[in-house]
């Protein structure tokens, strides 16, 4: 229900005021509407959304790609799409409500700039969106499909898993849909509940033939998205929607790419390796600081960036050094991607491990609305896991 888009709308005061039914005679509801009786507003503050569970830490200003501009994450996505439409005349962008700019504003202005045959709305049908995108790609053009929320990607599961992922293999490389990129807003947002909060990357990690990529901020988003678009394999690009506005960085204006399947060591350390991706990176960065301050523990923070195929080397090299590994994601723990990482690291680094590999993830429940503060793998849960690993 485009719920999460509300933070883009909040504050943007609607020009349209709906007066109420009929003759508008009820429009007398105004500021006085919700004047509550005394004692009632005592809880008002706490009714509001819980304060953000992370502190966004911007990346340093990149110098190697030319001039930069201040952009938030949705603007950096727009910038990548803009670059693509400008340089690749075959590229088309489509999905639900994409034409007017998208419910998260990622395609604002592109229709006016490049025409409605290149940036357009589709009927409301995710299996159609992905199937259509595969077809565009098979015919040799560049397809950038938007699924309005990662939670609504499942009607397209068959097209992604049985079609996109297997096109090249089953045709003996006669046909492929490598020009397809699927974008979808992803992850928790504070009030999204079951169907506007999910992190479904693990479902797709079980699917050889596609790539799955998740950026941690605007600079990474643009570079990784452009890599996905130019990569000759179908890619799913999940965008942490809580960062669309919250994350602001200096982003290069010109196109640039950040290599896929390469993790990035954001902070070096010697005692514990912390692996995450997307929003959770910012929780981990804070946890690393807390561990240093409160426990005197030195953490190495790694942003995996590409979930499939993932960079085992960077992660294993770090664990060989630190001997301890904590992996954290919002998705349920059972069958989550942390399990895959843990298993591989255990195979590769068994003799280097000083403590069992630790996972701090979502519980094995749907993503709950009012219990979100208890559900998410927050910094306190991660810190506690580090304590336990150190004292093992």
């Amino acid at each position: 229900m485009a719920a999460a888009a509300r933070f883009f709308i909040r504050g943007a005061n609607s020009r349209l005021s709906i007066s109420g039914f009929g003759t508008g005679a009820q429009s007398c509801f105004g500021a006085a509407l919700l004047r509550l009786s005394p004692g009632c507003s005592s809880r008002t503050k706490t009714q509001r959304r819980h304060a953000s569970h992370f502190t966004y830490q911007p990346d340093p200003v990149p110098t190697q790609y030319g001039p930069t501009q201040k952009m938030n994450l949705f603007q950096s996505v727009t910038s990548a799409l803009d670059n693509t439409l400008a340089s690749d005349p075959t590229a088309v962008i489509f999905g639900e409500d994409v034409a007017f700019g998208g419910v998260f504003r990622c395609t604002v202005g592109l229709r006016d700039k490049y025409g409605k045959d290149r940036v357009f709305n589709t009927p409301l049908c995710e299996q159609g969106i992905v199937g259509f995108g595969i077809g565009v790609a098979v015919a040799g053009a560049t397809a950038i499909a938007e699924i309005q929320f990662a939670d609504y990607i499942y009607p397209a599961f068959d097209q992604i898993v049985n079609e996109a992922a297997k096109y090249r293999y089953r045709s003996g490389n006669l046909f492929d849909c490598g020009n397809l990129t699927i974008r979808a807003p992803w992850g928790c947002v504070g009030h999204g509940s079951l169907y506007h909060s999910q992190s479904p990357e693990a479902f797709f990690a079980h699917c050889p033939g596609i790539k799955v990529v998740i950026p941690r901020g605007p600079v990474q988003a643009k570079g990784l998205l452009l890599s996905c678009i130019s990569d000759k394999n179908p890619c799913i690009f999940f965008e942490p929607k809580i960062l669309y506005r919250a994350a602001v960085e200096q982003v290069p204006v010109e196109p640039y790419t950040i290599p896929l399947s390469q993790a990035e060591v954001l902070q070096e350390g010697s005692d514990v390796t912390l692996v995450a991706w997307g929003t959770q990176i910012h929780v981990m960065r804070e946890v690393a600081n807390m561990a240093q301050e409160k426990l005197g523990v030195s953490c190495e923070v790694i942003d995996l960036q590409t979930i499939l195929p993932w960079d085992t080397e960077t992660v294993c090299k770090s664990v060989v050094k630190t001997g301890r590994l904590l992996i954290s994601h919002e998705a349920p723990i059972t069958g989550g991607f942390a399990a895959e990482i843990s298993s591989t690291v255990q195979e590769e680094c068994f003799l280097n491990l000083e403590a069992p590999i630790s996972r701090v993830c979502g519980y094995d429940t749907p993503f709950p609305h009012i219990f979100e503060p208890f559900y998410i793998p927050d910094k306190w849960k991660c810190l506690e896991a580090i304590k336990r690993m150190i004292n093992y």
Binding site: A3, F21, N121, S193, D378
Partner: protein
């Protein structure tokens, strides 16, 4: 082949016979000969394909989509609330009509207060029903209370008509301890077992094939129940919608598909959603009886739903109602519709063609409703809503324990372990968790 047909028929009769236990006698699995293929006869110069029966032609001609375009819009009242054709007047009592009006306006009042409360950050999200009140109340009134409802999310009036209390609406939106859904879903995802209203789910169109299955089961129960399934014209584009239509037709389900065609799916206007003549035009393609009604005419909606319900149950077949209306509000509190439609357009529907004003004209013309009645009802309804609102605002959130229940019917050992580890953790880090806001 003739024989084979006979055989099949026999087999069907036999199964029917086998099943014609007491339970199934009244509403047996009728296999109506109408839906049955023609017997094969090779001497006739007619197409004998198993998939269709018609005549051969020798002119090359494509069927134009507009041969089925222009499905008329059924209405009972004009925009001024005058009955157009007396034979279509449902002749509802004054009391019934006043109840319609009070439910429609109460819904509108609740919407405005909850919308505003979201704006003030008191609840996280809201979706209004502005302009669609007639579709809700007209259809809900035509059903039996035990008919099962599968909704989309913009049908709060149906639930209100059935007697869902303001306290329950508010509790759900506040996700407080009184929420029947235990605080797990976003606002407006209501559900009520007692009122036969299946809990709303955000993923679109998923309820459509589910409604077909439910209608099939209800048919086998032989309990004089029907199922109604609401959805938007946008959701009708999903694959699930196709599945639901086709299943209910082939499996002969007593089901009313009620499409609220309100002109938009978030920002997407209907001309980017479909190219045929709306949703009603699809009915014939599925072998389904269909009608288009003026959704802002509560009596037209009532008549159409009543007749569809009667026949769905009597004849075991699905009906498709496309109620034409207009989404006067923003899609939700996440949306600013001025980015994709004009204020004039919205104002037209708000001021010139609103289901509530139309009904009010009707009541006024009959001398059933005065300015004074209006004034005092508004005051009273607002007060009632505000009181419920304040009660909900004061309530605590549900016990966090409920995070782990109902995943499965039973608590699994794995989940139990996770539950215990959360509690241990929260005890240790008390100051970082908003425990005081939650029920103990």
């Amino acid at each position: 082949m003739n024989k084979m047909y006979g055989l099949c028929f026999h087999a069907v009769r036999q199964t029917a016979g086998l099943k014609s236990s007491r339970l199934l006698q009244r509403r047996a699995f009728r296999v109506s000969t109408l839906h049955r293929q023609q017997p094969f006869d090779s001497t006739l110069e007619k197409p004998q394909f198993p998939g269709a029966s018609a005549e051969f032609v020798d002119q090359l001609e494509f069927i134009e989509p507009n041969v089925i375009s222009g499905i008329p819009v059924y209405r009972v009242m004009d925009r001024q609330g005058n009955i157009i054709n007396p034979s279509q007047d449902p002749q509802l009592s004054k009391e019934t009509v006043l109840n319609f009006y009070q439910k429609m306006t109460m819904l509108n009042t609740m919407d405005r207060i909850l919308y505003e409360s979201q704006r003030q950050g008191r609840i996280s999200f809201y979706m209004t029903n502005y302009g669609e009140e007639g579709t809700h109340i007209g259809s809900a009134a035509a059903l039996n209370p035990n008919d099962l409802v599968f909704g989309q999310y913009r049908e709060a009036g149906v639930l209100m008509y059935r007697g869902f209390s303001l306290d329950h609406f508010m509790a759900q939106c506040y996700a407080n301890a009184d929420d029947l859904g235990k605080g797990r879903q976003m606002p407006v995802h209501y559900g009520s077992k007692d009122l036969n209203f299946v809990t709303i789910s955000s993923p679109l169109a998923t309820q459509i094939p589910q409604a077909a299955g439910a209608a099939y089961a209800v048919k086998r129960e032989n309990s004089n129940r029907a199922v109604i399934c609401y959805f938007g014209e946008g959701a009708a584009s999903e694959g699930d919608a196709h599945a639901g239509f086709n299943f209910s037709a082939t499996l002969e389900c007593p089901l009313i598909f009620f499409c609220r065609n309100n002109g938009y799916a978030i920002s997407t206007p209907t001309n980017e959603q479909y190219r045929g003549d709306g949703i009603a035009a699809r009915g014939p393609g599925y072998g389904m009886l269909s009608i288009r009604v003026d959704g802002n005419d509560v009596f037209a909606v009532y008549n159409a739903t009543k007749e569809a319900r009667r026949r769905a149950v009597a004849e075991n077949q699905p009906f498709l109602i496309e109620a034409m209306t207009y989404r006067i509000g923003h899609h939700s509190t996440s949306d600013d519709s001025s980015a994709y439609r004009s204020v004039d357009e919205v104002n037209y529907w708000d001021k010139q063609d609103h289901p509530i004003s139309r009904l009010r004209h009707y009541m006024t013309a009959r001398g059933w409703w005065s300015e004074d009645d209006e004034r005092s009802w508004r005051k009273q309804s607002r007060k009632t809503v505000m009181e419920a609102f304040e009660r909900a605002e004061r309530r605590l959130k549900p016990n966090p324990e409920l995070l782990f229940t109902d995943v499965y019917q039973e608590m699994t050992p794995q989940l139990n372990k996770q539950r215990e580890s959360l509690w241990r953790h929260v005890q240790q880090y008390k100051e970082h968790y908003p425990l005081d806001l939650y029920d103990k």
